[in-house]
């Protein structure tokens, strides 16, 4: 689908039919989670985290720590994405496994990774380092999947003629990467990096405070500061924390992402000039600064050129065929070994699942249904308000001019940071945590819908608006014949992402600790969070797998079809 969005763009949801790869993936995941659980059972005794000061003086230090973790996780995400996406795009057989695996991985809630990650790190590294690494890894799991998809999709959609030109002119892998693949993917990668950072902030608290069984782990950082402030019911501190968080996000946006976007406009594929290229004051300032230019020329340019020349002069890929044949055998052998191991572990996982009582399965079943209800409600509410507002912004330039920045800043505030305040307000109302959970899902995911609807509304050709006016279509008729059909593909794209996000948010929305108390409601997210916290690994395995299957089934049965309809019937060309 074409998305002429100037505002916000994320990876297209990848909706594909089931393949044999899906079965393999499911089995392997069950095995992996089981492995982690095994590790968990042999973990060291309880650890008390460091004390945290709520004084605003230390806030800067905590923010630095959190941002550092985010940056490290992001770096890891990029490296992972480049490798994983390249493998998936270039090897047909690997693709069959890797893409369904990626699809499944992104529906696994962050907490379900916890035991595997934490306990394997603790087994290898000294405690302090292990905790830092675990935290980084958890953030990584909330950042990386959409980046990987973006890279993979870019690689597979490179125009054929550019690909052929690179081959006919004998580009070596480096030259191909630098001249073709990276520039082609750049815009999508930047937008998705922004989405990744947003995802990272959202789960920051979950990544800085976690418990496994009797053991609580805490890491100094902004997330822990916010959590501690909420626990103590210190509103001053919550205010400071949220304020600094928003400020950090805005600064990063202004100093990093906007300049990158403005710079990356040159990587647009179309051979015509764009009307409204993205702009950034900071980018303009950097570009016109002589100091910066001199700095780049003298310190950066020469080593870079040297490196580039060296890499470009490496032997171009020669007889790939023969080496490929030998590699295939190696792959088969490796695949067989790994496959056998996984099968054994999957069997063990099955045995573990056997230990989950009927009662617990009942809780899981109820949980899935109630969470499904909440996700649907959140989506419904989001659609109800984003449709009129999105269309208003998308079709009205003047409104867009001042509302867009407001919306963007609002959207950048991670909903989890506001959750304590929200809880305090809502807990007294009828519905209590149930309502709060829906609100949190809504806060976290409505933006995907809004941004897509704005993009869709601004893509309706002006001619059609004129025609509607000339035909004197009434308000309702205009919506029915023009606006709704035109928005359909965009709304579906947004809804797929939003629904995925809502399922993921359920783990923080349905189970939370606040003011020294634990609040929970019925739901699959609560089941996962609770079993992770209580160290009930059989239950964690069972509820994670159930959620995985449910989300996959809904994707195939509902979203897949709607997406098809959107692609074939309502596409505007």
């Amino acid at each position: 689908m074409r998305q002429p969005s100037r505002l916000f763009r994320i990876a297209q949801p990848l909706v594909r039919p089931l393949t044999w790869g899906d079965a393999v993936v499911f089995i392997s995941l069950a095995a992996l989670i089981y492995l982690g659980v095994q590790l968990g059972l042999s973990a060291p005794p309880a650890i008390k985290g460091p004390e945290i000061s709520l004084s605003p003086k230390h806030l800067l230090y905590y923010t630095g720590l959190s941002t550092g973790r985010m940056a490290a996780a992001y770096l890891l995400s990029v490296i992972f994405s480049l490798i994983y996406g390249t493998l998936a795009a270039n090897h047909r057989r690997a693709e069959k496994i890797l893409i369904p695996l990626l699809d499944a991985l992104q529906t696994i809630p962050i907490l379900s990774f916890l035991p595997v990650v934490l306990l394997s790190f603790i087994a290898i590294f000294p405690l302090r380092l292990a905790l830092e690494l675990s935290s980084i890894f958890l953030i990584f799991t909330s950042q990386t999947w959409n980046l990987t998809f973006a890279w993979y999709q870019s690689l597979t959609t490179i125009p054929r003629n550019l690909n052929q030109a690179s081959t006919i002119f004998h580009f070596n892998p480096w030259l191909r990467f630098k001249t073709l693949e990276l520039p082609f993917a750049a815009i999508s990668l930047i937008w998705n990096s922004m989405a990744s950072w947003a995802g990272g902030w959202f789960f920051l608290m979950a990544a800085e405070i976690f418990s496994a069984g009797e053991r609580n782990f805490r890491l100094p950082g902004l997330g822990m500061y916010l959590q501690e402030a909420a626990n103590q019911g210190n509103f001053m501190a919550i205010g400071w924390g949220v304020g600094v968080l928003v400020l950090t996000i805005v600064i990063l946006d202004q100093l990093i992402w906007r300049p990158l976007l403005a710079w990356s406009d040159r990587f647009k594929l179309q051979l015509v000039e764009t009307e409204n290229p993205p702009t950034s004051w900071f980018y303009d300032a950097l570009r016109s600064s002589r100091l910066i230019r001199g700095f780049i020329r003298h310190l950066f340019h020469r080593p870079w050129t040297y490196l580039d020349e060296w890499l470009a002069s490496r032997q171009p890929e020669a007889d790939r065929g023969r080496r490929g044949a030998r590699l295939t055998w190696l792959w088969y052998f490796l695949g067989l070994a790994v496959g056998l191991g996984l099968f054994y572990e999957a069997y063990q996982a099955g045995v573990m699942l056997w230990r989950v009582s009927w009662n617990q399965w009942g809780i899981i079943g109820m949980g899935i249904l109630t969470t499904l209800g909440r996700v649907t409600a959140a989506l419904g509410i989001a659609l109800a308000w984003t449709l009129p507002v999105g269309v208003a912004i998308g079709t009205n330039q003047r409104l867009a001019a001042w509302l867009q920045p407001v919306v963007q800043i609002t959207a950048s505030v991670p909903a989890t940071a506001l959750f304590p305040i929200l809880l305090l307000v809502v807990l007294g109302l009828p519905g209590g945590l149930n309502l709060a959970a829906i609100l949190l899902m809504l806060l976290g995911t409505q933006w995907y819908l809004l941004f897509n609807i704005i993009a869709g509304a601004s893509a309706i050709p002006q001619d059609l608006h004129y025609t509607a006016t000339l035909l004197q279509l009434g308000r309702w008729e205009r919506w029915r014949t023009l606006i709704l059909p035109a928005l359909f593909p965009f709304a579906i794209t947004g809804a797929i992402t939003a629904a995925g996000g809502a399922w993921n948010a359920s783990i923080v929305a349905e189970y939370t600790q606040f003011g020294g108390q634990t609040f929970k409601t019925i739901g699959i997210g609560a089941a996962i969070a609770e079993s992770a916290a209580a160290g009930d690994y059989a239950m964690l395995l069972a509820s994670t797998l159930t959620m995985l299957l449910t989300v996959a089934a809904i994707n195939r049965l509902v979203w897949h079809r709607l997406y098809r309809v959107a692609e074939t019937r309502y596409r505007m060309e």
């Binding site: 052929q164 030259l175 990587f267 470009a312 019937r569």
Partner: protein, 447 residues
């Protein structure tokens, strides 16, 4: 490298087959050709005859299903380092400047930076682009973009230069001037290129440029004629010898009207070849009929028609094929003659035209087959996918889709068929296709 036979390039029994099992489709069948040093040859043929595929095979971008590619007598392994392609859609990197686009080709060959720059600037100068070195592709017109494409191709000093319809995405004037410049470079001997192979569907372009024309036909793609062009450069398009050659190529490609049963082929699934419906716009067909109706004796030289109607030869040949298939016109010796039925059609009212059209397409085996399939169902309707699957026994997937598209278009015009795009269901128009023919307007079938 051994030069056993002196050919620069030789293709031996090249076959390209797609698909497997029942659904095989032959894109290229038994192509043999040899290219000498110093030769400018064209692969000329209608869209879908496999010209581009053949170029990819020749340069090593694609490995053929069967057959051998010899370069200077040695079998080709991988991408040919002595060959390059100029693409129809330019294939320039939009994020690199004009100069960088040329330099990157040299960089890939390991040319050091300083030399790269001098050579790129020199080449850009030669194609007339000095002053545009720092422009980005989006700032240039199609003609200039293709000049960059040429400069980039020349930069690697290829022995064999392949051109894949390089002028067909350009406007008429840019194309003409670029052709002239290419000839100048080639005949002037200022480039180290030993041979040029141009793929095109434009007959005049082929006659204008080449020393030799290899005429290809489709279904399956094969070489049907090897025509030498002995005219000296620069060639005059109004020269009778030039026109004669154009006429000859048209004659071969348009063919002669065959007896009806040969012309129409057989139904899908039956033995024998199913005649593919030419993918045309019906309004264009009626336009052509009306034009012919106004000519003396209802007759025209096909090569002259292309100029009068301002259509490209590929499109014209498809229209002519449709007129012939529908029994509106006869083709012989490069001439097209409207027959009495065609004349009636050209002069009829919109309603009557539709009736004539309906009568005629009912005789086509593909339509007979389609209509009887629809009639055999309870509700006289079938899903698109079912029909497409059946058609894929005769055509490759893409072509099957195009055939069904065309069939629906024709059937809708004739009011025989209706199609609902949202449910993807094809059904009979009430009263259409029941076998009842109001008035058989069979004034004149082919003899």
């Amino acid at each position: 490298m051994a030069e056993l036979n002196g050919f620069l390039l030789e293709l031996r029994q090249i076959n390209q087959i797609y698909g497997g099992g029942e659904h095989t489709f032959t894109a290229i069948q038994n192509v043999n050709l040899a290219l000498n040093e110093g030769e400018f040859a064209t692969l000329m043929g209608p869209t879908g005859c496999g010209k581009s595929t053949l170029l990819r095979i020749i340069t090593g971008l694609q490995v053929p299903t069967a057959g051998e590619v010899l370069y200077r007598g040695a079998p080709l392994k991988g991408v040919n380092p002595h060959a390059t392609i100029v693409f129809q859609t330019f294939a320039l990197f939009p994020w690199l400047t004009v100069q960088e686009n040329v330099e990157v080709a040299l960089k890939a060959r390991g040319v050091p930076p300083k030399l790269r720059t001098t050579r790129a600037l020199d080449l850009l100068d030669r194609v007339g682009l000095d002053g545009f070195e720092n422009a980005y592709p989006r700032e240039l017109s199609g003609g200039m973009l293709q000049k960059v494409g040429f400069a980039r191709a020349m930069a690697v000093e290829p022995e064999l230069l392949c051109l894949d319809e390089p002028f067909s995405a350009l406007d008429v004037l840019s194309a003409e001037s670029l052709r002239g410049e290419l000839l100048e470079l080639w005949t002037g001997g200022v480039i180290p290129t030993r041979a040029i192979l141009l793929a095109t569907h434009n007959i005049e372009e082929a006659v204008f440029l080449a020393d030799r024309i290899l005429v290809m036909d489709k279904d399956p793609g094969r070489v049907i004629m090897n025509l030498k062009v002995d005219l000296p450069h620069p060639r005059q398009r109004k020269d009778p010898k030039f026109l004669n050659l154009v006429d000859r190529v048209y004659m071969v490609l348009a063919g002669h009207t065959q007896p009806e049963h040969v012309e129409m082929g057989t139904a899908p699934g039956e033995p024998g070849r199913t005649r593919a419906l030419p993918h045309i716009n019906i309004d264009d067909l009626t336009g052509l009929m009306e034009h012919l109706d106004g000519m003396p004796d209802n007759r025209a030289d096909i090569y002259a028609l292309a100029r009068e109607l301002q259509v490209n030869s590929d499109e014209l040949l498809r229209l002519i094929e449709a007129a012939e298939l529908l029994g509106f016109a006869n083709i012989a010796y490069g001439d097209i003659t409207l027959n009495p039925l065609g004349e009636t059609f050209a002069e009829a009212s919109i309603r009557a035209r539709k009736e004539i059209f309906a009568t005629r397409i009912r005789r086509l085996p593909l339509f007979k087959w389609l209509l009887s399939m629809l009639r055999a169902t309870d509700k006289n309707q079938l899903e698109w996918d079912v029909i497409q699957k059946a058609l894929e026994l005769e055509f490759h997937e893409e072509e099957a889709e195009r055939q069904l598209d065309t069939a629906i278009d024709w059937g809708r015009y004739a009011e025989l068929l209706a199609y609902d795009d949202s449910s993807q269901i094809l059904f009979l128009e009430p009263g259409g296709g029941t076998g009842f023919v109001k008035q058989d307007v069979n004034l004149a079938g082919p003899p």
